[in-house]
């Protein structure tokens, strides 16, 4: 009898081992646990025969039974860990997504390319302690021309064909008008940029627009020299176009600066060696600059013995077209959603 119970226990252990090896899911495992260790399980059934045992045998068989139980529990635990791990892997693998499919949320809107570049320009200047000024687009002749040393019938007006409302009121042709307005209001030291729309009579084609943007800069302080103009343009170009960019200035003429300069930067496509993009020149013209003409300063009651300054202006669209490789300026004003969303 004793032997028989012991044998039965050993049998349970041996069977359990065999069955466990074939169990693959946590449901099966639970069913197995109930079948073997449950209240009505095989082990309990065997142990119910314990009453028939002799007093001295009971502890011995009890000992064996406990060992078997502990052994099986141990095995079940190990099997459960294994099964859980496999099941998780299976689940995760079943949940696998094509991560290259498009996202679902409504996309955020895009900045206009002109704003993208203009914002970078503003940030660059703000970081150098500049403020941003604005002035009216519909402007008096005085601010746009007269105060900038361009009297009526000055030939320089030829290069800026102007839209007029009356003989005295026009659409500004240059943001330099804001220079004058700034110097009227603010005493030196002045460090300001004024970006904005300007207007010139130009038939619309791939390179011309009657409306475009300029970014004007003005610095007036004690002891400003041509070196500072050059150094500042250098720094600005590096901030806007990258550390490797070189700047070149060469003589030009603007009635409100003296000396005046045309600003070019080394071609950001070829680095200055000459390519199709820069028409083989290695340089790209980006704007004009110069030392503020003392006539302008004097008109605004700034003492030219004490103060001097420099000013510069750049066309925004030109930067945008080059930056994004856009070959037609009309794209910027057409506002085709496909265009706007592509940048």
């Amino acid at each position: 009898m004793e032997i028989n119970i012991k044998e039965q226990l050993e049998q349970i252990r041996a069977n359990a081992e065999k069955e466990l090896a074939e169990i693959a899911s946590s449901e099966e495992l639970e069913a197995f646990r109930v079948k073997v260790l449950g209240k009505k399980g095989e082990l309990t059934k065997v142990l119910s025969q314990m009453g028939k045992l002799s007093a001295e045998m009971r502890p011995v068989i009890g000992q064996v039974a406990n060992e078997v139980r502990a052994y099986i529990e141990e095995k079940i635990k190990a099997a459960k860990e294994q099964i859980d791990k496999l099941e998780l892997e299976k689940k995760l693998s079943a949940e696998k997504l094509d991560v290259t499919l498009p996202g679902k949320a409504r996309r955020a809107g895009k900045k206009h390319p002109c704003s993208i570049v203009l914002d970078e320009v503003k940030d660059a200047f703000i970081s150098m302690g500049f403020t941003i000024a604005s002035g009216p687009e519909v402007e008096y002749d005085y601010y746009n021309f007269e105060a900038l040393n361009i009297p009526k019938y000055h030939p320089a007006r030829d290069t800026q064909d102007t839209f007029y409302f009356t003989d005295d009121i026009l659409l500004r042709t240059q943001t330099s008008s804001v220079q004058v307005r700034t110097m009227e209001k603010v005493k030196p030291p002045i460090r300001v940029i004024s970006p904005g729309r300007v207007y010139r009579i130009d038939e619309v084609d791939s390179t011309h627009s009657p409306i475009f943007h300029q970014i004007e800069g003005l610095v007036v302080d004690k002891g400003i020299t041509m070196s500072h103009l050059k150094g500042s343009l250098d720094l600005i170009a590096k901030k806007l176009f990258g550390e490797d960019i070189k700047t070149r200035i060469r003589p030009d003429y603007f009635p409100f600066t003296e000396p005046s300069a045309e600003i070019s930067i080394s071609c950001f496509k070829c680095g200055g060696e000459g390519c199709k993009f820069c028409k083989g020149e290695g340089w790209i013209e980006i704007g004009g600059a110069g030392m503020v003409n003392p006539k302008v300063l004097e008109l605004l009651n700034i003492d030219t013995e004490e103060y001097s300054g420099f000013a510069f202006g750049m066309g925004l669209e030109r930067l945008v077209l080059r930056r994004y490789n856009i070959d037609d300026i009309r794209m910027l004003f057409e506002n085709d959603v496909r265009f706007l969303e592509s940048l």
């Binding site: 009216p136 519909v138 009526k152 409302f165 250098d234 003296e258």
Partner: protein, 798 residues
């Protein structure tokens, strides 16, 4: 302006490669945009002597020529040309040659007879008939046609004998340097650039006696508009074509050769920059020239055959009866040099720049002459130019110069002097140039430097002060040699203003709502107001009108941003883009009633969309999220049925603190139709300044509630036309301070609700600050709400 290298070298012995010349000139301020040399294209075209012409054996229209091209044996050329004869010299494109157009020419068989080249016309050499006296358009260029002296021999390279091997620079002269609108002026700059010698010979000529006073008298009535008038009379004129060398120089400068007299005036203008004119003396009535303002409405035919109507602001050169030239712009047809002209008047005058500019603008007539005068010429230039013209008359044997010059000189020509300020210039440019270096540069530019004082020549009207001198020094010292330095400045606060920061955040909020930024024109079509259904008397119709617009469509400054937005939506719709969600912070220009004042420029936030299942509530959602993002004061949305641009039942106005801050809604279907947009379009317009002012004060932290909240649902039945906004307002008033939050969770119309009524369900959150609300408190609040609503015909849904 074209500058032939060879002509320039007559004054300075600069001799560098064209590429280097171009670069260096650019760096000293004479912008050289490019250069060409015809001989770089034309290859292997030589002078040929036609020795024999025979009929082609197989073709009636062809002949076979035996041509001497300077080689041991003649070559055979087949041609269809007719205008040559034996003994003619013609350009011959040999086997393997290239024409000016780039077209290659090879030997080939023509109807069974070999042709070892081709005879050329002027066009095939890249020329026009004016570029070679006596040449014709349809036919070969006969080089020894007798109209001018031609010295080439068979076998000579055509580029050499016609001077096609010169480099011609294209230069752009800045507007304050009219002295450089001349070969001599550019040569002077080149000489200084390359530190080369510079020399202009004083013109020499002989006169034939007589006295100009016996032939001509000149009166200048308006000496302000004509500071100087000089004239010479030349008699026994023999009109003929100019010699080839002169024609070639004009050709290289892009000027058509006409005849010796006209060519001389053009030659002097190109060389010295002083426009000249020649009148046929027989047409100067009374031998009297008056420089006067035109009478109002006075008429004259200019040389181009056009009738011009003049006015009193224009200056004319007149004889005793009629105008014979528009001063400084163009001569009159009536006094033109003709083939039988026997005696001429040479005019070399100085005219007031603004007047020439004005006249040229008004007449719509811009000439080489007006382009120079309108920049302001040196009054002293007239004399040199007139002398040079006389010298050329003598050189060409074109006539005999009568003794005496008329010179009416009212020009103010004080000698300008400027101190050199050597140290200041070094400071201002931050360079280290010696006084001797500076002196050298200035003297090469024609200035005199003595004892630290610079005497400025009269042709440099642009130089007035030390800054101008500094610029000259900078240019020729080299901008490249100026050290770059960043300016030293006190630490001070730069940065964006509050309003600028607000605008940056606004842009972020708009984009976060899925709107793309657009950029549109500030000027629009006056038709846009009709298109958006604006009534005739709307204040927006009072606009700034551009006097000289590009076209009707861009002729007024916009007073509303909406038309620009609809225009862009429409364009996208036409491109079949399935959706467009766009915004613009647009400037509008509100006319000032006082027309001498500037308009008020205001920014307006405008956004609009179509497609992608967007509806009114999509729009309202965007509006709400923007108001929240911009921390706008609490807003109320009030239905708006009377804005003609918007749908009367799907539009709301936004109010903050009782003040209207904007409008949004579905665009009126008729307006959408005007813009050709099918389907529903939505838009909003919010003035920037109003929104900015409606910003709520910054929120401060409120302690989190200590007592629990209770939620109660309230399902109501009301009439269809009652807006939920009204009900919400009532509930808020009736509930008192314990109402923390109210939200709609359902709106229902249908079977269980009577016709003409709807059901709206609200979720109320109630909480007291100082205690836990008891059942009685809640009951009291709810009873009050329900009772109040019932009085207004809003009942509890049973």
């Amino acid at each position: 302006m074209n500058v032939p290298y060879r002509w320039l070298k007559e004054y300075t012995n600069v001799n560098v490669e064209p590429k280097k010349f171009s670069h260096e000139m650019n760096m000293t301020g004479t912008e050289t945009t490019g250069f060409v040399c015809a001989a770089d294209t034309i290859k292997n075209i030589v002078v040929g002597l036609i020795e024999k012409i025979e009929q082609h054996p197989n073709a009636d229209k062809l002949v076979v020529c035996s041509v001497n091209v300077g080689k041991a044996e003649n070559i055979q050329i087949v041609t269809a040309a007719k205008n040559m004869k034996e003994g003619d010299l013609v350009p011959v494109a040999l086997d393997g040659s290239v024409l000016a157009s780039g077209k290659p020419i090879n030997a080939g068989e023509l109807r069974g007879v070999m042709s070892y080249g081709m005879f050329c016309s002027v066009e095939e050499l890249g020329l026009a008939t004016n570029d070679f006296p006596g040449s014709i358009e349809d036919g070969l260029l006969i080089l020894n046609n007798g109209a001018c002296e031609f010295n080439g021999k068979p076998g000579d390279d055509i580029c050499k004998v016609l001077d096609l091997d010169d480099t011609i620079f294209e230069v752009d002269i800045v507007t304050n340097r009219p002295d450089c609108l001349s070969i001599i002026g550019v040569a002077r700059e080149a000489a200084c650039t390359f530190r080369a010698p510079f020399n202009v010979k004083k013109p020499e000529f002989t006169t034939c006696g007589g006295n100009i006073a016996d032939h001509l008298s000149v009166t200048v009535e308006d000496s302000e508009l004509c500071p100087r008038y000089m004239a010479r009379v030349v008699k026994n004129i023999k009109i003929e074509p100019s010699p080839l060398w002169l024609v070639e120089k004009l050709r290289d400068c892009g000027v058509r050769a006409i005849n010796n007299i006209v060519d001389i005036t053009n030659y002097v203008m190109l060389e010295y920059g002083q426009p000249m004119h020649a009148f046929d003396y027989s047409c100067v009535d009374g031998g009297k020239i008056t420089v006067r303002r035109a009478a109002e409405g006075e008429k004259m035919n200019t040389l181009d055959g056009q009738e011009r109507i003049l006015d009193t602001e224009m200056l004319v050169i007149a004889d005793s009866k009629k105008p014979i030239a528009a001063a400084g712009v163009m001569g009159g047809e009536n006094s033109e040099i003709k083939d039988d002209t026997k005696m001429i008047v040479f005019e070399s005058a100085n005219f007031f720049a603004p007047s020439v500019r004005k006249t040229s603008k008004k007449l719509g007539l811009r000439t080489e002459s007006s382009a120079r005068f309108e920049k302001g010429l040196d009054p002293n230039l007239t004399e040199e130019a007139l002398d040079r013209a006389c010298e050329l008359i003598c050189m060409l044997g074109a006539g005999e110069i009568v003794d005496g010059t008329i010179d009416i000189n009212n020009a103010k020509t004080e000698v300008k002097t400027v101190p050199l300020s050597h140290e200041w210039i070094n400071f201002y440019l931050n360079i280290d140039a010696s006084e001797a270096d500076m002196t050298d540069i200035l003297e090469r530019l024609g200035m005199k430097v003595e004892n630290g004082i610079v005497t400025v020549p009269s042709f440099r009207s642009d130089i007035e002060n030390k800054y101008d001198l500094a610029e000259e020094i900078a240019k020729f010292y080299g901008y490249d040699n100026i050290k770059p330095l960043f300016f030293k400045a006190d630490v001070r606060s730069g940065g964006f203003t509050e309003e600028q920061k607000f605008e940056i955040r606004l842009g972020e909020a708009l984009r976060a709502s899925g709107l793309d930024e657009i950029m549109t024109y500030s000027f629009v079509s006056p038709k846009c107001f009709d298109k958006i259904g604006l009534p005739e008397n709307a204040p927006e119709r009072s606009v700034m009108k551009i006097k000289n617009p590009l076209g009707e469509d861009t002729s007024i400054m916009r007073t509303r941003a909406l038309p620009s937005m609809l225009e862009v939506l429409s364009r996208n719709y036409n491109y079949r883009n399935p959706y467009a969600y766009l915004y613009e912070i647009a400037t509008v220009y509100i006319k000032n009633p006082d027309e001498t004042k500037l308009p008020d420029e205001k920014k307006v936030i405008c956004f609009g969309f179509y497609g992608d299942n967007g509806d009114f509530y999509t729009l309202k959602g965007i509006v709400e999220s923007i108001l929240t993002a911009m921390n706008t004061k609490e807003c109320e949305f009030i239905p708006c049925a009377d804005n003609p641009s918007y749908h009367p039942g799907r539009t709301a106005e936004i109010f903050a603190d009782g003040k209207k801050i904007g409008i949004f809604g579905q665009i009126h279907p008729l307006v959408a139709e005007n813009y050709g947009i099918g389907g529903e379009v939505y838009a909003a317009e919010i003035p920037f300044d109003v929104l900015y002012e409606a910003t709520a004060p910054e929120k401060t932290f409120k302690p989190l509630p200590k007592f629990p909240a209770v939620t109660r649902d309230l399902a109501l039945i009301c009439k269809d036309e009652t807006s939920s906004g009204e009900i919400e307002k009532k509930i808020k008033a009736l509930a008192g301070p314990c109402l923390e939050k109210i939200e709609i969770f359902d709106v229902y119309k249908g079977a269980q609700v009577a016709e003409g009524y709807k059901s709206i369900a609200y979720a109320l959150v109630l909480r007291a600050e100082d205690k836990t609300l008891g059942e009685n408190d809640i009951e009291a609040i709810m009873t009050n709400i329900i009772g109040g609503l019932e009085k207004d015909g809003i009942s509890l849904r049973k």
